[in-house]
Amino acid sequence: MSYNQRQHEGVSIIELSGEIDLSQSPIARQQILGVIESGQDLLVDMAAVSYIDSSGVASLVEGYQAARKNQRQFALVAVSNSAMSVLSLARLDQVFPIYASVDAYFQQDD
Amino acid sequence: MTEASTSWPAKAHSGVEQLGRLSVRTVEELGYTGALLIESLYWIIIGPFKRQPISVPAVFAQMMSIGIAAAPIIFILSFAIGVMLAIQGIHSLKTFGAESQVVVGIALSVTREFGPLITGILVAGRSGSALAARIATMQVSQEVDALRVMGINPVRYLVAPALLAMLVMVPTLTFLADLAGLFGGAVYTSVELGLSYTAYLDRSLAALSVNDLSQGLVKSGVFATIIALVGVSNGFQVSGGAEGVGRVTTRAVVLSISYIVIADMIFTYFLNR
């Protein structure tokens, strides 16, 4: 797994890529929680994620909960089909704000 | 007639066969129990380095269940034994007019013999049976299999903590039993011979060497190992559902008490040569 972090219109965007499994998800978790704790809105771009297991999904859940507590925005972007099926297994597709692309997120904001 | 002549050799044959089976089984069981001991020690010592340590909370939980509830009953029984030794001692020493020597007798027999033995037998009955029943129930309900398929070694998860807890608690309880036994002796002696507690204590301490105490404690360590291993090995070898659990539990208690008494005899023989 690798990640890349950038800013766009005052929102932090973390682009995750590769496999997010048991060994990698703690890194993703730290990144996500770090951004939330610094008081920013966060988009997690999952376009390049080839595989995500439940530890990765659990990190997303934790991030979303932290964002809600800090009253920050948190959304997933470009969730692949395989990642979506993992999310929907635990019905999390009905919980996370999910957008087709980063642009889609900013368009709905306007 | 013919019937008798044919059944005789058959009976003798089955008798020999049974004896053979029994000894094979005994050797097998000894080997199995020994393997359990070695594997438990392996996990206790090597486990932390392989990042698979035994669970400290599990050890403490076991220690609590072995020790805390057993302490009062062990205290009472040992106290009673101390009193009995004093009664018998004074009675028999009276013949020689050496009643005051009873203190030495009590001090030595309590610390070297009765403290460890009464503790061992009591813990075998209380905790050895509980251990056997717990492991047997887990075996029957496939919990042991579940541990194995999760990659959790059952010896590490179940046996090693129990062994460690026994090794800590049985000597501790034995020490308590020693104190209670001496106290029981002191109470009776003070009533019967008018010996003060301080005088009793002084004489006891003078009679006792470190060796006497440590002999008892070493024994109690051996008893602890016997109780833990006989309990778990019987538990693991359960067969036949709930009825089997009852059977191995009884077997575990009978066997561990027998082994404790035999081990005690052997130890006493070698330690006193």
């Binding site: 048991l22 998800s25 703690p26 978790r29 297991d53 439940s54 530890s55 999904v57 659990a58 990190s59 859940v61 934790e62 099926s85 993992v86 929907s88 297994l89 635990a90 019905r91 999390l92 | 129930t137 887990m138 309900s141 496939q142 919990e143 299999d145 579940a146 541990l147 194995r148 398929v149 999760m150 990659g151 959790i152």
Partner: protein, 266 residues
């Protein structure tokens, strides 16, 4: 995806096992492919439970080999087996939840053993799996407080908490009412579809087997009678398979001599 679909993740080769001196399995050959749901069927005494035990690495076979994810579990060392177990989930017939731990602690157990994840992450993962099996909100109950169906679902949650590649399920519907059993079947299908798991189910329930199976293997007295799709199985003209499918008692021809020997032996 199609290429990997046909790679065998389980390969059993000439497996022979004994219980004491009795031979139980007489040379079993079986392959299970990635993403496949394989049902092992058979009556009691057919050897299906024995086969499962050996598949789980809980026994040492007399001869033959069992490869799981390419690893021969009859020969590999303890460390390799330990690593392999991360990729295997097992739901036992009676659940086999540790009675001293709460439901959520049971589900977290494999994570505690195999990962160094944050406590919070592990707890969320366990709760997610409990949601998957519809046990959300029951996490603090003890196993003794659960019904049979709930225990099976909790055991399934524990089996899948590590997202294993291989899932083994022993008698998912035994002892459950039909509605709960059907729910579990549904769940098994969803797990395969969402996670791409390879799933081996041991059962004697025909309805459930036909509903979820990609292929079914039928065991009879330690031999495999057939390993094929549901359609092919139904079309088979083997007498014993048909009697299993139609639930008729087996009416094989009696061998008079052998039968008399059995009755009068000794």
């Amino acid at each position: 995806m199609n290429a990997t679909l046909h790679q065998p993740v389980i390969e059993i080769d000439k497996l022979v096992t004994h219980y004491g001196t009795t031979e139980i399995l007489h040379g079993i050959d079986l392959e299970v492919h990635e993403g496949e749901i394989m049902i092992i069927m058979g009556g009691s005494g057919s050897g299906k439970s024995t086969l499962l035990r050996y598949l789980l690495g809980l026994g040492i076979p007399t001869s033959g080999s069992i490869r799981l994810l390419g690893q021969d579990i009859t020969r590999c060392d303890a460390d390799a087996m330990y690593q392999l177990r991360r990729n295997m989930g097992v739901a036992f017939q009676g659940g086999a939840l540790l009675s001293s731990l709460s439901v959520v602690e049971n589900v977290m157990l494999p994570l505690r053993e195999h990962t160094k994840l944050d406590e919070k992450t592990m707890r969320i993962m366990a709760r997610m799996k409990l949601e998957v099996v519809n046990l959300g909100g029951y996490e603090d109950m003890m196993p003794a407080e659960l019904s049979g169906g709930m225990i099976k679902r909790a055991a399934l949650a524990r089996a899948i908490v590590m997202d294993p590649k291989l899932l083994f399920f022993d008698e998912p519907s035994a002892g459950l009412d039909p509605v709960v059993a059907a729910e579990l079947d549904e769940l098994i299908l969803r797990l395969r579809d969402a996670m791409g798991m390879t799933i081996v189910v041991v059962t004697h329930e025909l309805d459930s087997a036909f509903k979820i199976a990609d292929r079914i293997t039928v065991l009879d007295r330690g031999h495999i009678l057939i390993t094929d799709t549901v359609t092919a199985l139904r079309a088979s003209d083997n007498e014993r398979i048909q009697s299993l499918l139609n639930r008729t008692p087996s009416k094989e021809r009696l061998e008079a001599d052998a039968y008399m020997d059995r009755l009068t032996a000794g």
